[in-house]
């Protein structure tokens, strides 16, 4: 094949490429950043090991406890247009009406007070990485008890929350009409998520996409979470690989004592406070070769689908469960990064 080289261009005007686009519009700037993102390796080769953030101190501990130990389904969300934190009450009312209308489509309903569900919007104060991050907020659907004697606040039917932890790269590119909360986590019936998501999409012109976590990012999670210092381990470190074979896929589970995993990590880890791509690869390679020595199976030829540690567990389907209060912000920061990558 011919080598591709551009002959000297005909017009002899001198111009360096960086002179071309000086006063570009915001959209062009965005495109520029996408070009950069696409042309290099998508993820930076090094990341910080999650640290306990100062900002977390003013978080309502009850609310945090509520977020832990639940399985959340992840979505990425484009910036919300004309969302206002001062209208949360109004949003509750409107979303309430919308849900009732959706659920009883075709039937006439009384528009007013008498629903057997209740929608609550509330902010999650302090749930942010930097001061610039917009406030996270929580949406809950509660069932109202029919009997007045019972506690009016019934059980929680569905919960979803929106957050942005260290979302600087996204925040820089949008104007104040938008609220950037790129990470959305939902727990509850999928049909409810659909209705609520639809309402948000219609009201704030945003877009929800399921956020899957590929094997590459799962390995990063495995390494970063193993690197976290945990006071007492609540769960074993476990990996799940999937072997695609017919008629049913075969899963290989690989559980390690968390202290052994930590010891392995410490033997690999060099730069304090940081994790690099080489370290992640080496960590996984060590696990692979150990497994191969015992079972003669090359795990590198299979697909990593789940990682569980004492900090959190994540599934490739985009499901996450956060276990450790201390590293909540750290885990969310990485998920925010993935969500931002998906919407950019």
């Amino acid at each position: 094949m011919d080598s591709y080289d551009v002959p000297e261009s005909t017009p002899s005007a001198s111009s360096r490429p960086e002179d071309y686009f000086v006063g570009a519009t915001p959209l062009q700037k965005r495109l520029e950043s996408i070009r950069k993102q696409t042309s290099f390796i998508p993820t930076p080769p090094r990341r910080k090991i999650p640290q306990c953030s100062q900002l977390q101190e003013d978080v309502d501990p009850q609310k945090v406890a509520f977020l832990l130990h639940k399985q959340w389904t992840l979505y990425s969300l484009t910036p919300l247009y004309k969302f206002s934190y001062s209208n949360l009450k109004e949003y509750s009312r409107l979303l309430n009406a919308f849900i009732v209308a959706e659920k009883q489509k075709g039937l006439a309903v009384e528009v007013g007070e008498d629903f057997n569900i209740k929608v609550i919007f509330s902010t999650l104060l302090g749930m942010k990485g930097t001061q610039r991050d917009p406030e996270a907020f929580l949406v809950q659907i509660l069932s109202k008890s029919q009997l007045p004697s019972e506690n009016r606040e019934g059980k929680v039917l569905w919960t979803g929350w929106f957050c942005c932890i260290f979302g600087d790269s996204l925040l820089e590119t949008v104007s104040e009409d938008f609220t950037c909360l790129p990470l959305f986590l939902a727990n509850g019936a999928e049909s409810n998520t659909a209705i609520i998501g639809t309402w948000f999409q219609k009201t704030f012109d945003c877009y929800f996409s399921p956020l899957a976590i590929n094997a590459f990012n799962l390995s990063w999670m495995a390494a970063m979470w193993t690197a976290c210092k945990v006071d007492h381990y609540v769960a074993t470190t476990e990996f799940l690989w999937s072997v695609p074979c017919s008629p049913q896929s075969l899963d290989i589970s690989y559980a390690i004592h968390p202290e052994d995993a930590k010891a392995l990590w410490d033997s690999i880890h060099k730069t304090p406070g940081e994790v690099t791509q080489e370290e992640v690869d080496l960590f996984m390679d060590c696990l692979y070769s150990h497994f191969h020595r015992h079972f003669k199976i090359h795990l590198s030829a299979t697909r990593l689908v789940r990682v569980s540690t004492s900090v959190a567990s994540a599934h490739t389907d985009g499901k996450i469960k956060i276990l450790c209060h201390k590293y909540l912000i750290g885990v969310l920061a990485y998920l925010t990064e993935l969500a931002v990558f998906q919407i950019e």
Binding site: V6, S12, P26, A194, K202, P244, I343
Partner: protein
């Protein structure tokens, strides 16, 4: 106005006037078209019948249905002996088709008319009404016509009741509702009929908007019966205009209406299923990438593109205590639903209520205009995000188990391309999508659409885009079939054209508006010339890979037909010549049309270069865009080769130099003559037919005689449509004629 502008307009018209399947990449659309014509049979009866297996059986059913509809249209034939039998047969046919595949909206239109016009008896009307099941949608006009039959009282009360029940049940499948909404008053008046009242109430409940609430609720106080259906309607009015309804309504009442849908329950499900598209294929075994969760993507709506709704909803959220007056007359802003014409858009452009979901503009040409001229960042950003995410979500090769939605994705891309053609401008979201998806593309999926997206990449620095896009495209190009190569060349030609149009507009508009790209002309020209060199490189290699295929050469020369005319057609200071690999392949081609095209291009190059030279002389001032003498030298070199071959019969002297010794070794004795116009292999067939046509006196030698024959032959060639050759020879006439022997 400058000639460029006109060129653009004409181009735009051409493009938009083309069929929906072939906006640009006609070649790559071949396959698609074929597919489309195959599916036409199916789509004839049920818009998009998702299951192709029934095709043959359906054809027969279709004929029978046509006959049946024709029968009903004619009305009952009194004289016929076995009238009942025929009637029964046709009724059965209609029922069968209706319940199986649904009826097309035209068929419903006809049959509905018949059922309500009272041509047949009550029993027949009932049966017809019961099987008015749409394949996909019901046209609004049919409903309006049907309602007009109610006014003339041709049908019985029970038929009317059934009709209203049908209307309520099928409400969601009526394509538009504006006209029906105009009949609000008529429906309201029908409330007085006790038998109809419950169903009319339900219909009104579905139809009522804020405006109706205000107008009608005063009258409703008259019906104080408090039947559940009236309560429902009242509660709705009360919601819209609480101040005007003083009646207190009982709480905790959930079901107000009798269920009208019962009769059609199964049919309704079937229609919904049909409208949603084909059922998914069985899941395949997957390797590699992360599984994506099954499709919850289209949460609520049936189509990818959101429905147009004005954003009043959001606005109202903000103001909590809003008076009824404000609510009903949103003064100042112009609701989108009323936007119907371009003058309206112009008049209200300052107070247009924007859609709540910006993506909905894609289906609305007026709003596309708006998007195009508005430089409001939030508007563009909302559209950008929506389109980027939707493309990413819908793209069938981007995520593993998305393949069952191929058709839908193709349609979506078609819509985008239509919008881009309409605006004559590419979307940034599409460019970003290409960056992400091209490396994963197999070169087959939605090829036509995908390559059209390439041709709409907004103008930018070529060297920046190259590693992201064109390098990947080159890999696919070299490893794919000749057809793919041609399609790529075609779309690159269109890309070049779009860039040139954009630049030529931009240069002339610059003093007036703020160009989105702050570029220097030199930088822009540099980018364009890099694109041309890139295509030159692709072409040279492709010609070798495909061993000088004529078909491929056509597409390559088509590209250069654009290139050679940049200076004159677009008024841009750029002349780039073709690489030698292309020039000599075309010159030595065995196909006359290739040689003809080459002649034409050389002629145009000559025109452009002369024009450029003339301008230089006129302007005197050394502009920075004077072409280097190298370009002229290169052109002259080509010209010399060409004249040497075709005209002066000195083929390997100046242009292509081949050592005479080597030429001796080939053993061709008359190599000097063998490439001139008379002996050129590509004109062989012309030479034969010329000889057969003419009864020439036997050669007597003389140079004059020979010269005469030479020009007869040329005239013959020109008369055969070789215009390029004619133009080329005429424009190089200065070259000495007598050298030809």
């Amino acid at each position: 106005m400058s000639p460029q502008k006109r060129v653009k307009n004409v181009k735009a018209q051409n493009r938009t006037s083309q069929g929906s399947n072939s906006f640009q990449t006609t070649l790559s659309a071949w396959k698609v078209k074929q597919g489309a014509s195959n599916s036409k049979n199916i789509s004839k009866h049920g818009q998009n019948n998702p299951v192709g297996d029934y095709e043959h059986a359906d054809d027969q059913a279709e004929d029978a249905l046509q006959m049946a509809v024709g029968y009903f249209e004619k009305g009952p034939i009194k004289t016929s002996q076995n009238k009942d039998k025929t009637l029964e047969k046709h009724l059965k046919t209609v029922e069968n088709v209706a319940w199986k595949n649904g009826l097309a909206s035209e068929e419903i239109d006809i049959l509905l008319n018949i059922a309500l016009s009272g041509k047949f008896g009550n029993a027949v009307n009932t049966r017809i009404l019961k099987c008015m099941i749409p394949a996909t949608v019901i046209s609004q006009d049919s409903v309006v016509k049907a309602v007009s039959w109610l006014c003339v009282d041709k049908c019985s009360g029970s038929t009317k009741v059934l009709f209203y029940r049908w209307l309520v049940a099928m409400f969601d499948f009526i394509d538009r509702k504006e006209q029906i909404n105009l009949l609000y008053g008529f429906f309201f008046a029908s409330l007085q009929d006790d038998a109809l009242c419950p169903y009319v109430c339900h219909l009104l409940y579905l139809l009522t908007k804020k405006e109706n609430g205000e107008i009608e609720n005063g009258k409703l106080i008259l019906f104080q019966g408090m039947q559940p259906h009236l309560q429902a309607l009242l509660s709705l009015y009360k919601f819209f205009a609480p101040a005007l309804i003083s009646v207190s309504l009982p709480v905790r009442k959930k079901i107000y209406f009798k269920n009208s849908e019962n009769l059609w329950k199964m049919a309704l499900l079937a229609v919904k299923q049909r409208n949603r598209g084909p059922s998914p294929e069985p899941l395949k075994l997957m390797l590699g990438q992360a599984n994506v969760r099954p499709l919850k993507r289209k949460w609520n709506s049936l189509s990818v593109i959101p429905v147009l709704n004005s954003s009043s909803y959001t606005k109202e959220c903000g103001k909590k205590e809003m008076s009824l007056y404000d609510c009903l007359n949103r003064s100042g802003s112009f609701p989108l639903e009323q936007l119907k014409s371009f003058p309206q858009l112009l008049q209200n452009i300052h107070c247009l209520e924007l859609p709540s979901q910006m993506g909905s503009v894609l289906n609305n040409s007026l709003l596309l205009h708006y998007i195009n001229c508005v430089r409001d960042e939030p508007v563009l950003l909302r559209f950008y995000y929506w389109l980027s995410q939707t493309l990413q979500e819908e793209c069938i090769w981007y995520k593993v188990n998305n393949y069952e939605h191929g058709k839908e994705f193709t349609n979506f891309l078609d819509t985008i391309i239509r919008a881009e053609c309409f605006l004559q401008e590419g979307f940034y979201s599409c460019e970003a999508f290409l960056y992400k998806s091209l490396p994963l593309w197999d070169g087959l999926c939605c090829r036509s659409q995908f390559l059209q997206l390439v041709s709409w990449i907004p103008f930018s620095s070529f060297s920046e885009v190259k590693p992201l896009l064109f390098d990947h495209l080159a890999q696919l190009f070299f490893t794919s079939t000749i057809y793919f190569k041609c399609s790529v060349l075609q779309s690159l030609k269109e890309l070049l054209q779009n860039w040139l149009l954009w630049l030529s507009m931009d240069i002339h508009m610059k003093p007036v508006t703020d160009s989105p790209l702050e570029t220097t002309l030199g930088g822009s020209m540099n980018s364009v010339s890099k694109l041309i060199h890139y295509v030159g490189w692709l072409s040279t290699t492709a010609v070798r890979l495909e061993s000088n295929s004529t078909f491929l050469l056509h597409f390559i020369l088509d590209f250069y037909e654009k290139v050679c005319d940049i200076y004159i057609n677009y008024n841009l200071p750029l002349v780039v010549l073709f690489p030698p690999g292309i020039f000599y392949s075309a010159l030595l081609s065995l196909d006359s049309s290739i040689l003809n095209q080459l002649c034409f291009i050389m002629h145009r190059y000559r025109k452009n270069l002369t024009a450029a030279k003339k301008n230089e002389l006129v302007q005197k001032t050394k502009s920075e865009f004077n072409f280097s003498s190298k370009t002229y030298q290169e052109f002259n070199h080509y010209l010399t080769s060409m004249v040497g071959c075709l005209w002066t019969s000195k083929p390997f002297g100046k242009g292509i130099y081949i050592d005479p010794e080597i030429l001796e070794k080939t053993g061709v004795t008359e190599y000097k003559n063998s490439l001139n116009v008379i002996h050129h292999p590509s004109f062989l067939s012309y030479a034969v037919s010329f000889l057969m046509l003419q009864t020439l006196p036997r050669e007597r030698g003389g140079n004059r005689e020979k010269g005469k024959k030479w020009s007869w032959y040329l005239d013959y060639l020109f008369s055969q449509g070789l215009q390029g050759l004619k133009l080329f020879i005429r424009s190089t006439e200065g070259i000495n004629y007598n050298n030809q022997y």
